[in-house]
Amino acid sequence: MRYLGRTLLRAILLLAGVSILCFLFTEMAPGKFFDELRLNPQVSPETIANLRSRYGLDQPLAVRYGRWVRSAAHADFGYSLAYNAPVAPLLWGRARNTLLLTTTAMLLTWLISLPLGVWLAARRGRMLDQAFSIASSFLVSIPEVVIAVALLAIVVRWRLLPLSAGPLNTEGVSPWTHVQDLATRMVLPVTILVFVESAIIVRHVRASVLEVLETPFVQAARSFGIGQARVLFRHVLPAAASPAISLFGFSLAGLVSGSLLTEVVCGWPGLGPLILEATLSRDFYLVIGGIMLSALFMVGGNLIADVMLLAADPRIRTGALDAH
């Protein structure tokens, strides 16, 4: 209980710290929102100056921060300069779409990676293991954006999937067609995310399982005649769990922020394209809103991972942590 309380306090402090640092960082970056207008020779500097002062962009940093905190208290989280609307509603709708994508990808990734990692560890050194090593090196080395463009190019050239599909939100369309539509559109981005994530997770799982496989208690279990699968999944996996749990925490933490490039390339209407454009155009309240959201998920993800770590290894919980 005390642990939870401490973590909650830490979470709140963290979010506050993130928001302050964000303001500082965005201040550091050159270029402000209305700069694009300067390239248009027909707009006068006075208009640009008026626009800036109307949105309070010429106020000192502390004043702007104060306004933002007040706006956060009203659940608005600032005002998007580009959309002329409060930030929060913009984010929620898109966040839903992103979460749809990332939770599906995460489930699939872990469903595939855990068993695969364990299985490959058991077959270490054999053909399949080597093949996987090469494949995962491939996926890890090539930047995600190149993988995304390459896969999209393959889909287009070989007409594997229909790229035109109905919009994500439609009323008046039967639920079954809607789900089918959605599924078709999700295949490509989910595939990209699964490929990229599972390459890393499988490696870690495999490595930590390998470490445990050589320990005495596993040898003992084997010598007692316990079957391979049971040994792997009931004895080895819990002991090898630690890095996997941390990685799981990372997966949770990255639920809203990890799919940005994939969404942009595949045209998925999630947070990715919104935040990317906001970042490049310096629509900074929108950017900060997005960052706070992903910070929230980060804290949540790590919290869950910590809880799981405690659950997996009871010794951490007990007074073994005394003397310090």
């Binding site: 020779p41 002329n84 035109s164």
Partner: protein
């Protein structure tokens, strides 16, 4: 019997549902004074999808600043006078005719009678007055406001009667009627109330429901799906008819799909998810061209665009800033012979070949061959010559050491950096080519890519740069929009911003000439003045011009009346005339 009737009803219903994709156009009635597009024919039906780089940010034409919003809003709205993108001349739009006073200051416009907004409400002079009041309101801060302020004084708008409006300019302004293109007429019945309540800026944001947005354009808003698409449907009351007196537009629906980068757009076009692409890079164009026989796509290379890419050297007054390293280099940048040498060393045909895949044109002045009305063909187009460049440098006091490195008269090594936008691959390539060209002169040039807004900050604000590769132009063919670039006090006078008085004779002459052409009504006299301006620019090289890309557009085989133009919005300017061909028609076209 009953079963058959029921079945027939069902069939009719289904057919009705399938056909009723967009609202049927209203039959033209005699009370309406419609615009007859005499050359246009086609047939009704179908849906066109076009990809966009991002989503629009608002439906409000007065406050929209980004290009994507403006492109979409332009399909919902209409102006009093429009510039026909193909001929580049003005033509009557909502104003069926106009008279200009002898001194060119007073425009009296006759509005079309009997036409209605997309929600059926009548349009008249009150809407025009309301629209201009909003555009010129200081509290709204519309970017278009500055267009209507000439010499610091606003345009005066008066209502003569229900269908006649008079505009009085503070002084004569050449091609003033071109100002009206892009000033959308707003529906007073929907927007006056929020305007009076001071809520105009928040009106017509993206979450506005479709029935609250109305305009005089060929389409009206049907649906907005956040992050994904905007669907527009036919405006049943649109004021144009085709050669058979059928009301335009032909299309039932127009969809803007937000697909991101140009590459993603090309891929979707190939996959058949979109029907048109507005501007292509030459690599993508060549890609689509190779498959043209198989796909039947219509590809258009319209020749050189109106943009110009250039190198600008920092000649700003840096006395109040701590940029000593740059001040030392400005000694070279301000020397005309130095700039001439740089210009002589650049291989422009290599730029056209390697950057634009031969689909581009070299430039030596700010007006290229694409602007047929205003280009000065007498300007010299010298070929690249390292020998000439070296001679120029020698005569300016530069010298070379035994390893071929260039030094100035005081013994300092000639070394500088060129900044450019990292997201613009064409300009990055030009920078690399330039770096190589100038290395043959012994100059050490560094290419420094910067994120776009960081670049703008340095060029317009901090002046912390040596040289930059940028692009301007492309808005309109007329010289007036270029005033701010070439006049001393202009806001885009990049090489020497914040200059108050012309520091050289030629800058002073350009000031006078540009001011004069702005008030000269006769085209030939204006051309003479502007020719002289172009000559001065190409002689004195405040910018060293590089090249311009061709305007490249594509549509699939089913799009009829596809006539892209070199002015924005390249493919959608005649969206009211576009139609979807039947399979037999498009097969015939192949």
């Amino acid at each position: 019997m009953k079963v058959i009737t029921r079945l027939t009803l069902l069939v009719c219903l289904l057919a009705g549902v399938c056909l009723a994709v967009g609202p049927a156009p209203e039959k033209p009635n005699p009370g309406e004074e419609l615009f007859r597009a005499a050359q246009v024919s086609g047939h009704y039906g179908g849906q066109l999808t076009i990809g966009g780089r991002a989503e629009p940010k608002t439906f409000n034409p007065v406050i929209a600043t980004d290009a994507v919003s403006r492109e979409m809003i332009g399909r919902l709205m209409a102006d009093l006078i429009e510039i026909n993108r193909a001929s580049q001349q003005t033509e009557p739009a909502l104003a069926k005719s106009w008279k200009t006073s002898a001194d060119g200051r007073v425009f009296t416009l006759q509005l079309r009678k009997g036409i209605r907004f997309s929600d059926g409400h009548r349009f008249d002079a009150d809407d025009v007055l309301f629209s201009f009041a909003v555009y010129m309101d200081e509290n709204v801060d519309s970017p278009q406001r500055d267009l209507l302020i000439i010499d610091g004084k606003p345009l005066a708008v008066t209502k003569i009667d229900q269908y006649t409006v008079r505009f009085t300019l503070p002084r004569p302004y050449a091609a003033a009627e071109r100002l009206f293109d892009g000033l959308a007429m707003l529906p007073r019945h929907l927007l006056e109330k929020p305007y009076r309540e001071g809520k105009f800026i928040q009106s017509w944001s993206l979450n506005t429901s479709a029935n609250e947005v109305a305009g005089l354009g060929p389409f009206r808003l049907k649906q907005y799906v956040p992050g994904e698409r905007v669907v527009l449907e036919r405006n049943p009351y649109y004021w144009k008819v085709d050669s058979h007196n059928d009301r335009l537009p032909y299309l039932d629906e127009l969809t803007f799909l937000f697909v991101g980068t140009e590459d993603a757009q090309v891929m979707r076009f190939e996959a058949g998810a979109t029907n048109m692409i507005s501007r292509l890079s030459s690599e993508n164009y060549n890609l689509l061209n190779r498959e043209r026989n198989r796909t039947g796509a219509q590809l258009s290379d319209l020749g050189p665009s109106l943009e110009y890419n250039f190198v600008v050297f920092n000649q700003n007054d840096l006395s109040s800033k701590k940029l000593d390293a740059i001040v030392r280099k400005q000694k070279w940048f301000r020397d005309l012979k130095f700039r001439q040498a740089v210009s002589a060393a650049i291989e422009r045909d290599a730029i056209v070949r390697l950057v634009y895949g031969t689909r581009g044109t070299a430039l030596w002045g700010n007006v290229g061959p694409g602007n047929k009305l205003w280009v000065n063909s007498a300007i010299a187009h010298p070929q690249a010559s390292t020998a000439t460049a070296r001679e120029l440098l020698r005569s300016a006091g530069f010298s070379w050491n035994p390893s071929g490195q260039l030094f100035d008269s005081s013994g300092a090594r000639v070394e500088f950096s060129i900044i450019t936008s990292s997201s613009n691959t064409q300009r990055m390539k030009m920078a690399t080519l330039l770096q190589d060209d100038l290395s043959h002169l012994g100059m050490q040039v560094h290419v420094v890519p910067l994120e776009f807004r960081a670049l703008v900050d340095r060029v317009f604000q901090s002046f912390d740069y040596d040289a930059a590769i940028m692009g301007l132009g492309g808005g309109d063919a007329d010289p007036n929009p270029e005033m701010n670039v070439w006049t001393t006090q202009g806001t885009s006078h990049l090489w020497h911003l914040n200059e108050t008085q012309p520091e050289t004779a030629w800058e002073g002459e350009i000031d006078r000439l540009m001011q004069q052409q702005m008030v000269t009504i006769d085209y030939n006299k204006r051309k003479q003045l502007y020719d002289r301006v172009q000559h001065l620019i190409s002689e004195n090289l405040p910018f060293i011009f590089l090249a311009t890309p061709n305007v490249l557009a594509a549509a699939d085989s089913r799009v009829g009346n596809f006539h892209p133009a070199i002015l924005d919005p390249y493919t959608l300017w005649n969206v009211d005339e576009l139609y979807i061909r039947t399979p037999t028609e498009s097969a015939g076209v192949r």
